[in-house]
Symmetry: C2
Subunit: 462 residues, 2 copies
């Protein structure tokens, strides 16, 4: 065992430090598609903030790159370690410390999965509403990527639901930010700076999340549209009503076909409608009372018909659940049908038609394709990029991301930059902003140890 | 005219640069209670981001302290300039640039007041929901202090409603952050870092704010409680129902008496109930339909009765509006009755009873009093501190703020630190966090020109 390994082992206990060939391959990757797994030099499994602090101080002192890992379900490679680096896995820090119904918050360790948190709050009538597709994802991972998901259109993304942190700075200080409080104007908002920083500024060791009341009644309306642009035009109209859907998704016809096929969905849509439709809108509603839900569903159906929907299918119980679950698994479906990369660009929702049609045109011109679905209410477009040649694909994706930025959007709406999108970010973003972010990075991490390939290209760090 | 003044005048035009005795006294203060007005050396009124950029570059080059001013309605002294400093007033940058109903956003210059923005959106069915008491406040000021107000319990504070900025760094770069998008995971969230930074990091020259649908029907329920703690215990119960009130305030009996007296409120509450009640809960509800509103009001009344309210008065139209307006003007009422200072501490809402009773005890022990009202749904307690002796008052406020922090809260929920609360912050906050914030400050403002008495004591800057 090397000196460095011995030092890490002394901190976490030798049972919780892995090195070399004893490291399972799983620790070498997340679900990002374009990089092969990379086994790190060390995997440490700390049990406390104090252990994390000592690990980071040791890594800072010796210039060892550090990557944090929650469940490894990320889609941008932010949890992919360096060959010479330390991977800190939060799998042992997986306790729900408190469910506080008076303040409507839960206090959890970063390794808690969304499924575990949902179970822990089930009896309270409250729920953590951030709901990315993968429910095995960890709360710590949600913090890292500023996770979103389908319910963001009503409840916001991780940023809006993380009220406070205990976090360890790479220099070893353990700080607390925010609290069981929904608002604060007391110095800079360190919570919000750390949320979405993908393990490059500080590592969260405790997370205070907001809980919302679980409403008892819900239903899902599925509306096929002959014309893609009509779907997009319907989105702001639905939102302007004040009906506050908790899910508002679009699914293009190719993606819907793949979902129906791979997941054996029975949606009751006649073949002739499926064949003639370019895209679908999914509108999920919820309410405290069954009567109000029924009224809202009816009103939504009428509105969608006015807006050009070919029909509107009200899905309840199992069939609604199956559709939503299939949508959540769209990533796996698109991966199975051969996606070469995945983007989750966000654009102003009014610019979605232009963005999607132009992106499709660019993909076709490159001899590939761009298909997908997305959080229409948020302008967050998930596109699977099918384009085998790596350099053609890089050019295509650069063009698509540049287009999103020209339209007032950004490279990623919820997956983060990770290793996969950092090169595009460095190429396309305003250099004044990248330079400012680099100075902020240095104010947290003077040794540059935290995830040095993410947000900034490693070589551009000091 | 000094060289420096000539330089600033050359940038904004001599008609828009004031110096010396020609500077009206109003520019020397905001509404903070404890400092006398301080006339700055220069007032500049730029018309564009480019002019702001040139002003800041000149100030950075010559070490001139710079304070930004919106409407001057702040309550913590963040807009109070330095004697040797430049005050940048955004009064000429007051255009509503765009109301975009498709993306449900408005794009405004920082000098736009909330009243002007409300007027500009009135016909669209949408509204900017941040609603601090003072509607002459500017959007730029809202950004600076992360303004809150009564509607935050449903719609969040400025932080949750500011989606993007154009901002000028003290080194002169003009950057754009965020956009007409509700979510983004693309590098660090510079928008959220600048929001609430009280003019110490960068100056906003354009703000993209979120708009929400205006719901047509609203009513206000006013419930007196014999016992203060019952009011506090009612708060989480109301929120857990999913009724989503858009206002949830408490008002203590002394404050209510002052509001009724100074504002000639007619609430229809019998004297004997007023005399026997310790505090009031104000619950405002809104809905798309009148029927649902009526049902919700009835349900709220029943719930409040169960929770121990002596009665529940449903206020509609003019009387509801008068009560809410009186509550908005509570600051002026408390100032008129002799408040010596004002705090707007935030604590976990479950800790409000302990916080308020302990704070009152501390005030009484110091020979003073602490009375007020607050955003009960947010745990944001506004206390007027009556205590004439400055050093006794300083000790009292230190004790009260330290108590709030021990309970997991923070010094300010929405007013910001300004000049008034910065000394307490520097004394009470974790030094590791203050040091980190100072490094962040330096990453934006290497010359230390932006509001050097705010967040950090001036002498602690480089």
């Amino acid at each position: 065992m090397s000196d460095m390994a011995a030092r890490f082992a002394e901190i976490v206990g030798s049972a919780y430090l892995l090195t070399g060939d004893t490291i399972p391959e799983d620790y070498g990757h997340d679900e990002e598609l374009t990089h092969p797994p990379q086994r790190p030099a060390y995997v440490a499994k700390p049990a406390s903030a104090e252990e994390v602090s000592r690990l980071l101080m040791a890594a800072s002192a010796h210039g060892v790159p550090v990557t944090a890992r929650g469940s490894g379900s990320g889609l941008s490679g932010a949890a992919r370690p360096r060959a010479d680096g330390l991977l800190i896995s939060f799998e042992r820090m997986n306790a729900v410390l408190e469910v506080d119904t008076t303040n409507q918050v839960a206090v959890v360790q970063p390794g808690v999965t969304l499924t575990e948190l949902d179970d822990a709050t089930a009896d309270t009538g409250l729920r953590y509403m951030v709901h990315p597709g993968e429910l095995s994802s960890s709360v710590g991972g949600n913090v890292g990527t500023n996770a979103g998901g389908m319910r963001a259109v009503k409840y916001g993304v991780a940023r809006h639901n993380v009220l406070g942190l205990q976090a360890v700075l790479p220099t070893g200080e353990i700080i607390r930010t925010g609290g069981k409080i929904a608002k604060v104007s007391t110095g800079y908002d360190l919570t919000q700076l750390i949320v979405g920083s993908e393990g490059t500024l500080a590592l969260a060791t405790e997370v205070i999340v907001k809980l919302h009341p679980r409403l008892d009644h819900s239903a899902t309306v599925l509306a096929p549209f002959a014309d893609f642009d009509q779907v997009m035009e319907a989105v702001p109209r639905v939102l302007a009503t004040g009906l506050t859907p908790y899910i508002l998704e679009y699914i293009d016809n190719m993606t819907m076909a793949a979902l129906i096929h791979t997941q054996n969905l029975e949606l009751g849509i006649p073949d002739q409608i499926r064949d003639s439709c370019e895209a679908y809108l999914v509108v999920a509603l919820e309410n405290r009372t069954a009567d109000r839900l029924d009224e809202d569903v009816e009103k939504t159906g009428e509105l969608l018909a006015e807006l050009g929907a070919v029909d509107a299918y009200v899905l309840e119980g199992a069939s609604a659940r199956k559709l939503i679950e299939a949508r959540e698994k769209a990533f796996w479906t698109l991966k199975a049908v051969g996606a070469d990369d995945l983007i989750d660009t966000v654009v102003p929702r009014g610019s979605m038609p232009k963005f999607i049609s132009t992106a499709r045109g660019l993909a076709a011109a490159a001899g590939g394709a761009a298909v997908g679905c997305g959080h229409a209410g948020d302008g967050n477009v998930h596109l699977a990029i099918l384009c085998k040649d790596p350099s053609a694909r890089h050019r295509l994706i650069t063009d698509i991301l540049a287009l999103a930025m020209e339209l007032g959007g950004a490279i990623s709406g919820e997956h983060g930059l990770g290793r996969a999108k950092t090169p595009y970010f460095v190429e396309l973003e305003d250099p004044a902003k990248v330079a400012l972010m680099r100075r902020i990075k240095q104010s947290f991490d003077p040794a540059g140890i935290l995830n040095p390939d993410v947000v900034f290209a490693a070589e551009s760090l000091p």
